[in-house]
């Protein structure tokens, strides 16, 4: 297994970390002893409330340790398993929840392993270092505290000099061992502190089931909306059109003027039906998105807004269609929100792609205070993005500015056209 990446990777740095980890692990050892005592006392009931309290304490301790490791590991904090929440305050229910939670069993396994093997691993380099320093000091302290750092009883100063070699060797050994011990320590901790593969997959399945349900719901209501729009709109207009044409046909010879009126009406009805269909199509999938991709579609969208919108779009190609569409509608919704509520004087959209993720930020200089849970808009975007494992993050303090960041994992198609859209045309020059 490859060595984990650290934020602090010098040997002395890792040695200092060993010392820090030793301290925290030692605190865990105290917790383990107390828990064992409480477990023993449980036989006569009094231990049970104590055990419950200690288990809660253990959760906090484990969590601090995850965060502590997060400062060392480049990958960030160790993920926590899904603990059962302790909502009820009654002792019996709390006890049942705590003691039947698989995460509790895992926490105790970690505590036991970490307080023994973990403690030895963490403490080994600092111990060696400490003895090395003591050996170096022994060239002076031998008079007051005789020891065997010089590998023999010391009675004269020249006898004490060999302890310098011992000290140097111990410190070198500490520095040599440190990366290996820290590596083994973090591996052990990560394995025991992070959720198991089974837990991870269970959580993943739950997430997928929820997002699938949301997607299906959203799709169903979208289809219902389209059906209703077609039924009440274009379809009804076509019926009216047919009726008008039929009447015109009938009256053509009898009353040409009335027929003419009916035909004009028919033309108008056709135009209205087309307008409705056009709006409907735009709501399903904007044609400009098909024609120009996300880049062009956002440019076209920005042109229709009243406030100036600065664009910085850097995509090496086109993301898959569904992702493109979700991203477009998310940006459109956010810009509409800005126009409606933010009282902004300008806004900006930034889109780029790297490491198989598309990152979109939409911001404005408005009055802020957007609550991600309040409006249905942001919740809708959240659900739409969740279908692609995407995330949305709102930063909107009262008084502004608002910055909303969305991330969508996706690949990118290399451009499939040889003549991509021309660069955004500057506004035509003024005629002389």
């Amino acid at each position: 297994m490859a060595r984990p990446r650290y934020r602090h990777h010098t040997r002395p740095g890792l040695l200092v970390w060993s010392l820090l980890l030793t301290t925290h692990t030692a605190a865990g050892t105290v917790l383990l002893s107390l828990s064992l005592a409480a477990a023993a006392l449980s036989a006569i009931w009094v231990g049970l409330p104590l055990l419950a309290a200690l288990t809660r304490l253990l959760r906090g301790h484990a969590h601090t340790h995850r965060r502590l490791l997060g400062h060392l590991l480049a990958t960030g904090p160790v993920p926590a398993p899904a603990y059962r929440p302790l909502t009820d305050t009654r002792l019996t229910t709390q006890l049942t929840t705590l003691l039947t939670d698989p995460a509790t069993r895992r926490d105790y396994t970690w505590l036991a392993a970490n307080s023994t093997a973990g403690l030895i691993l963490a403490a080994l380099p600092p111990t060696l270092l400490g003895h090395g320093l003591l050996a170096l000091a022994h060239t002076y302290t031998w008079r007051h505290a005789p020891s065997f750092y010089a590998l023999q009883p010391v009675t004269t100063q020249p006898d004490a000099w060999p302890s310098l070699i011992t000290g140097a060797l111990l410190i070198t050994l500490a520095l040599l061992l440190t990366p290996t011990t820290v590596h083994t320590y973090t591996r052990l901790n990560r394995r025991l502190l992070a959720p198991t593969e089974h837990d991870r997959l269970t959580a993943r399945v739950a997430h997928l089931a929820t997002s699938r349900a949301h997607t299906i719901d959203a799709q169903a209501s979208e289809v219902r909306r389209i059906e209703r729009d077609l039924h009440d709109g274009a379809q009804a207009r076509l019926v009216a059109l047919g009726m008008n044409l039929g009447l015109a046909e009938e009256t053509l010879t009898r009353d040409p003027q009335a027929a003419h009126r009916l035909l004009t009406e028919a033309r108008e009805t056709t135009r209205q039906a087309l307008t409705e269909l056009r709006d409907l199509v735009r709501g399903i999938h904007p044609p400009v998105l098909v024609e120009r991709g996300l880049d062009g579609a956002i440019r076209a969208l920005a042109l229709t807004h009243h406030i100036p919108i600065a664009l910085d779009i850097d995509l090496p190609g086109r993301p898959p269609g569904p992702v493109e569409s979700a991203a477009y509608f998310a940006v459109a919704e956010l810009l509409t929100n800005t126009a409606k509520h933010a009282r902004a004087t300008r806004a900006w959209v930034r889109i780029n792609h790297g490491r198989d993720r598309m990152v979109i930020t939409v911001g404005d200089d408005g009055r802020g205070g957007t609550d991600p849970r309040a409006g249905t808009g942001l919740t809708g975007i959240h659900r739409r993005l969740a279908a692609f494992d995407g995330t949305i993050n709102t930063h909107s303090p009262t008084g502004g500015p608002t910055i909303i960041t969305m991330e969508l994992p996706c690949g990118i198609d290399t451009p499939h056209r040889t003549n991509p859209a021309p660069p955004p045309a500057p506004p035509p020059a003024m005629a002389p």
């Binding site: 033309r267 056709t270 135009r271 087309l274 307008t275 056009r278 199509v281 735009r282 044609p287 400009v288 098909v290 024609e291 120009r292 062009g296 440019r299 076209a300 042109l303 229709t304 807004h305 009243h306 499939h416 056209r417 003549n419 859209a421 021309p422 955004p424 045309a425 500057p426 506004p427 035509p428 020059a429 003024m430 005629a431 002389p432």
Partner: protein, 214 residues
């Protein structure tokens, strides 16, 4: 007048051919895809081309791209672009070379045959024909602030008509006012917007579009 038509749906293509032939146009080529359109434009050098934005083989904006690139090689080649939807972005790109002789209309505008034929003639003569939907969007962007807010309701109507590409006499006819009144409104508009006055119709239209596109 020699016309090239590019439209991939046979039903609409035939309709356009019938309509244009009935109005003294000679359809020299009717194509249904981008590459053929390119060939037809360079080979026939028509007086005007009527082009659908979306064409095979990519079914993206093939027609628009062909039109823009043809105007690169043949500057000022009159092209009227038709589409099921209008985008300010496309209008901007079509207008960006500031040579006139362009049109951009919704397909629905074909219903009003006399208006449509008028637009074709205007584009062929070096003028412009912008869809009212595009102009309405452009005007809407300018309402709140700036010099446009100073225009009277009538002046805004005249401005919209002019931006669509109509001549003074056409505007007079549509708004039921005299041509003299139209030019009075136009002078007032140009003063308020601080645009250089011009007697050339199409140049004036381009100045107004450039102003609105800012």
């Amino acid at each position: 007048m020699r016309v090239v038509i590019a439209e991939d749906l046979a039903l609409l293509r035939d309709g356009l051919i019938r309509l244009l032939t009935a109005h003294d146009c000679e359809v020299v080529a009717a194509v249904d895809n981008g590459p053929d359109l390119h060939k037809a434009l360079t080979h026939h050098r028509p007086d005007v081309a009527v082009v659908d934005v979306r064409l095979p083989p990519t079914f993206t904006d093939e027609g628009l791209q062909a039109a823009i690139s043809a105007r690169h090689t043949q500057p000022g080649l009159p092209i009227l672009v038709l589409s099921q939807h209008v985008e300010q972005l496309y209008a901007r790109e079509l207008l960006s070379d500031d040579r006139g002789a362009v049109g951009y209309l919704l397909k629905d505008r074909v219903f009003d045959i006399s208006q449509f034929i008028d637009a074709i003639h205007r584009v062929a003569a070096g003028g412009t024909a912008m869809d009212p939907a595009v102009i309405a969007q452009l005007l809407a962007k300018h309402t709140d602030t700036g010099p446009l807010a100073q225009l009277t309701a009538r002046e805004r109507q005249v401005l919209a008509e002019m931006a669509e590409g109509r001549s003074n006499s056409a505007i007079a006819g549509r708004l039921y006012i005299t041509e003299k009144a139209v030019s009075k409104h136009i002078n007032s508009i140009f003063t308020k917007l601080d645009l250089p006055p011009s007697t050339d119709d199409s140049r004036r239209v381009r100045a107004v579009l450039a102003y609105l596109n800012q």
